[in-house]
Amino acid sequence: MSGDGPEITPHTKASLVLTIFIVFAGVGAVIAHQQTESPVKIDKAEVGPLELRENASVAAVYRVNLTVTNHADSPVTVGVWTWDQERHGYAFWPVDGGHPNGTVTLAPGETRELTARALLTRNALNPGRPASVVLMTPDGIQRTATTVRTPRNSTYTPNGTEGGAA
């Protein structure tokens, strides 16, 4: 110890550095989140009916139906994504009748029903299980998310066609 004051231990220094980082990252996250939240809101979301059973134990293709509204004063382009458990990331699904690249542009204040066929894997496969759906702008900056549930009244027959109510 060289000065008159108490010695600053390595643990004190480390705590200080970590505290500054946590505050920096936390405040930054709040600001970034506010800037990132999308003006396009999902008013209603549902999944079904079953389109195709891809694999008995892994995945099936469902029709994802969304009612969305653009609350911004300018047009906003969004794409539909669902959680892909197999890759632990979101997978993109083209919107029916959208742009050639699968996205769709909403006019200011416009409410529209969107439909996309999505491959929902594992957790989302069983009837009644939740599936995460995200609307994301092409630059990935603005997004909004919701959770939907696969239909409880869908059962599967061995040949992959949809059966009756469970």
């Binding site: 970034a32 195709l52 994504w81 959680w83 890759r87 990331g89 979101y90 690249n101 995200v134």
Partner: protein, 448 residues
Amino acid sequence: MSSDAESTIDDRIRDNVADILFFMLGVIMLQIAIRLWGMLPPDAPLVAVTVILAFAWSLFLLVLAVWTTDTGEYGHFLAAVTLGILVLATVAMLRHLPLPYLGTDVALFTTYAADLTLKGQNPYAASMLPSMAALDIPTDQLQLPGFKTAYITPKTDGTVVTRLSYPAGAVLIFLPQMLLGIGRPDMLATLVVPVLALVAFLIRITPPRLAALPLLVTLAPRNMVISSLGGINDGFWVLPLVVTIVLWARDRRGAAGITYGLACAMKQQPWFCAPFLAYWLYADRGCLRAALPAWTRFFGPAAVVFGVINLPFALADPVAWLNGVFTPLQDAGAPLITQGFGLALLTTADVAALPKWYYLVVMVAWALVLLALYAIYFPRSRWMAWIVPALILMANYRSLPTYAVYVAPPAFAAFLAHHQLLWLDGDYWAALDPRRAPEEAADQEVAA
């Protein structure tokens, strides 16, 4: 329970660490045997022999745990036999798994890029999309339900990454197998050989009583042998980085620089070690003037090796090369989707919708925090330098599980070096370490 009884149990545990480790290896091998039984087709003699041997050996290891065995004498032999069974399993998988079996765009792109290089084209300036067509993957169905998503890396505008995004070493390493014409178009041997060599090298540098550990490190978190056959190429950089750690521990810094440059020329992860190693060299010498020759001695050869491998591509089209190598940070067009095991979960779990720039800023800040902590706790922290890539990338908007899994072998080599357990030249490295305290060395000489 009395303290005497407790200490007796502690002593027994300490005395039987090697048996405990080989017991754990037996359990892991049992899991591998079950997996081989499940994934290999049943109609080939080689498969039958492989599965029988894998089950028999795993059960033998369990028997060994209740047997009195001199693991000090037989530890390396037991580990080598286990490695032999892994090699046999690899040959069986290469021969009998339905191929092509590439499970990632990494392997697709790098092998295709190697093909372009052989044809005299610059792969950094070309689209990698035709690589999928070469394996009959329908490129017009990338966005359709039912497409195997493991082949693609999506971007937020719904398109997929079509750019080569690794340093040139990850491409050039395929050339020998291509020129020999073995196993095209899959190139799986090139992916798996570095992993098997890594396991062998780790066994070689581990004391016999601990020889089960290298196998646990490379098989338990994720079976690195099978993963490489699925298209994971991290063995390319992990093997030279582990060699670097051993050379570094022996104070052969020039040679360590060569292998470090090789690791950096394969993938981006080892780049993150550089500032920490620079601090280590600086702190060991105490001032910048003394650190400069040490930096030159290590980073000089590293830069030369990295340059020799990458410069031809970088000079041919600097922008294309930079865009390729820095794709995860700055790709043309939309960013890659957020995905990972670290902070990225905040976004994918919908806790907070955070953009890519936020993750970049936080990752840089986190790297600086780790460097500050490294300096604060130096020299206790010094071997942590080899593990930081996974720690830093936890803050990235993409933190794939492989970033964590494949830091385990370098962490193990650093663990051996830190505890002076590197087994080199037939003896513990402790006996050869020039930095060992003189009184400690004298004690050991007296004991000997």
